[in-house]
Symmetry: C2
Subunit: 307 residues, 2 copies
């Protein structure tokens, strides 16, 4: 079992979907990634920043699950990062209603000394220079995974390219892959992005699943078709957390094992969307994950023998 360092926001989210709305609840990429990775029993540290308004109750969520928060800095006189969004009826698009960076504006990540030798690093969506700083603090990681967004392509492309050049895996959605590469075909887009540095490219297509590319190899995992998507918030981060968590647990960074990691990422993400925020992830049992793996097998596995 490898140790895992996760950098990403720990935040307040206020969410509105056709099914209802929440008050300020626990959210953030670092939160979702950490909770998902911890499902594999991996020794996980979250590096992030919160304000004095962050409740003890949320801190205990990490503590109770034995997620290391030595790198979770509290700025007593600051306020926690806040995001508010409203999903459209199709759940595939959303409007950001409010973003308050607060303590995130001056965030300088510090990787705890005991985790500098972690073999797996997950860089959640943040300013590319913050992501870069985490890489530079690590001793000799085996696998660095980067998640990012179109916002940084629009506003910090040169910094983003610097960090992309230093990672092994990038996870990105289909539109972002097209924007970054200038190619419409996702096969061509992945090839262009591989030229920028990452040996592995994961393209997330939301309800249409996820693709993994490496040289001339390709793997695809569908999203589980659900009766109801209740709240998509955090699904992409939960996918990434499942992906790195499984790799850290198995200590196997081969393409073949990454296929399994992609399946586990999809598996966990399919739970995440069943309830608001982190609610479903907090109650999720190992048995439920195993049961859903069977569902994924039934959904995708077939037996054809050629004559």
């Amino acid at each position: 079992m490898s140790k895992l360092v996760v950098v990403g926001t720990v935040a307040f989210d206020k969410i509105e979907t056709p099914f209802g709305k929440t008050d300020k609840i626990l959210g953030g990429a670092g939160t979702y990634i950490g909770l998902a990775a911890k499902k594999f029993g991996v020794d996980t540290a979250i590096v992030s920043v919160i304000g004095g308004d962050f409740p003890e109750e949320y801190i205990n969520i990490f503590k109770e699950r034995d997620i290391n928060i030595d790198g979770l800095k509290m700025v007593e006189d600051g306020k926690t990062f806040f995001w508010s969004g409203k999903y459209h009826n199709d759940m595939n698009s959303r409007d950001t209603l409010d973003t308050q960076l607060n303590v995130l504006a001056d965030f300088e990540p510090i990787v705890p000394a005991a985790y500098k030798d972690s073999k797996i690093v997950m860089l959640g969506n943040l300013h590319p220079l913050v992501q870069l700083s985490v890489i530079e603090q690590m001793d000799d990681p085996e696998l660095v995974v980067l998640d990012t967004m179109n916002f940084w392509m629009d506003n910090a492309l040169e910094d983003l390219k610097k960090v992309i050049a230093k990672v092994d895996v990038i996870t990105i959605n289909d539109e972002e892959a097209r924007q970054l590469s200038g190619e419409y075909s996702l096969v061509k887009a992945a090839r262009e992005i591989e030229k920028m540095g990452p040996k592995y490219v994961v393209i997330k297509k939301g309800e249409h699943g996820a693709l993994l590319f490496h040289n001339n190899e390709m793997f695809f995992a569908p999203a589980l078709p659900l009766e109801e998507v209740f709240d998509p918030t955090g699904a992409g981060d939960t996918f990434a957390g499942g992906f790195v968590g499984y790799i850290a647990k198995t200590e196997d960074t081969s393409f073949k094992n990454m296929k399994n990691a992609i399946i586990y990422g999809s598996n966990l993400a399919s739970f995440c969307v069943e309830k608001f925020g982190t609610e479903r992830m907090l109650n999720l049992t190992d048995q439920e994950i195993d049961e859903r793996l069977k569902t994924f097998k039934e959904l995708t596995q077939f037996k054809i023998s050629l004559d």
Copy 2:
């Protein structure tokens, strides 16, 4: 090996894509379905209608492949059905530039006597009453598969519901499934459509693959991610032709075997889009199909053993 009856248009298409444009070329749902099904060596009859303008050269395409055309009626003084369309840059949407029904307007399908005992029937997209007439001419088919479009939902919904009530499998795209069922979730949509008659519902999502539903079972086949989609015309019909062709060849209408049929449908459709019109299907070899099956396995199959 079961005999297969296919009803569907045999047509002229004029196609424009970002890669170029064609003159009037061979097209039509019946053509694509028949060519795909014949790849499995199935004894296949196409029931359709053409005008006196339909060239010998195209008729020979069917004859050379031993596709029965006793039910392909030629109206000497009529003109063949014509469709012209232009694809947008993303290849996912298209504008119809021209539709000339011509001889299709008065089409009354006649199933050849030697094929009335066929066990498998594929009803390509046509007026629901034409599709119904074919069902009524059959002795005792084991599996009737229906393809349809939103056009008939808008213009002949009651007739469409009559034929839907009589079929075993319906193939339909995602937007059409939502329109027909009034449900946004495809899981719920499939359940509603099953209540209308079909025991199996296939939802085609274009570049995002296809889903097969039956009671509480689900199966998903991705579309093969391609460097270039050259011309999507006929992909859905080729998918359907591969699906019924494989079932007719294997004489197995179980859900388990339908999974394989869905994979073969996706396999053939991935070739169809590589060239304009039927060009790629006409040159496709068995070896290429087998090779691509391996690609589909690599794309989707994984091995996870639980501790």
